[in-house]
Homo-oligomer: 148 residues x 2
DNA sequence: CTGTGTGCAAACTCTTTGCATAAGT
DNA sequence: ACTTATGCAAAGAGTTTGCACACAG
């Protein structure tokens, strides 16, 4: 058993604290108190979307002392390590998604609320060729919602 | 009839001024010198994508004296009037698109360069129902490109 | 004239950075 | 011990705002 299996598609039961530490190590990140705490908040309960500010507030109210700068640093480190994906949804702030697999989003403009669209139903057809010397990195689909 | 030959490729200074003015009036905006100038840059030559900074620089180097604050104000007024659409592509800055119809975009991450995908080929299928009390406002598809 | 638009600079928000201190291995 | 991470506060980008002056109608 290697533990380095596909992270996405196992319906792994909610992670316990001690699962974060090896995960960080595998990613080449020292499991500091702050990183473990943020990791638990992020990966301890299913897919999540966070802003730096929101995660910071959450950490504080969970009794973890972390600075906002460290939250930003950590989010970027996690992103670099492939544990998070950053979403450009709303010019105003950066969203990070713990679901790094290909999927799309609902976004409620008024509330700034972001939801995954699960369900594999979405298909984008009829894409033209990318311009010369370019290739498609990925395709973001954001379904913007308003109150009915 | 030979009028089919030229459109906006003449090198004469197009006198769009007079086309912009009524357009602004119809939108309930006073045709001030600055608004007409920016309107000409934006609508005088086909579909465009601009950032506030870029448009400001362009106006200056076209000899039009406009402040950056006015460029921002004007872009938002134009947007409110339905003449522009704002795109959330890249957290860092706001892009405005003179093409307000439904269409999608290529975005080259490294350069921050944005291109329309014309061609009506793109189709998005398999969308799930929006959550309760919500309806779809619109769908943004951004095809992100990297150097091959 | 009258009211709206403009320009400037200062304010604001989100994010990043430099540097001394603290913590991991 | 040696190295890397953290925290703070200050700096940075992009964008917005308040207020006096300028201009369109």
């Amino acid at each position: 058993m290697d533990g380095t299996r596909d992270r996405q598609d196992l319906d792994e039961p909610i992670v316990v604290g001690d699962e974060i530490t090896p995960r960080l190590r595998r990613a080449g990140l020292r499991p500091t108190r702050q990183r473990v705490a943020l990791g638990q908040l992020l990966f301890g309960s299913g897919d999540r979307h966070v802003t730096a500010e929101a995660l910071h507030a959450e950490a504080l109210s969970a009794g973890e002392q972390v600075s906002l700068a460290t939250v930003y640093n950590t989010l970027h480190q996690f992103k670099r390590a492939g544990l998070l994906r950053e979403l450009a949804i709303d010019g105003a702030r950066a969203y990070f998604d713990t679901n790094t697999s290909n999927h799309n989003h609902f976004f409620v403009e008024e509330e700034g609320e972001l939801m995954d669209i699960h369900g594999h139903g979405i298909r984008v057809d009829g894409l033209p060729e990318p311009p010369d010397g370019m290739k498609i990195s990925h395709i973001d689909v954001v379904v913007r919602l308003v109150k009915a």
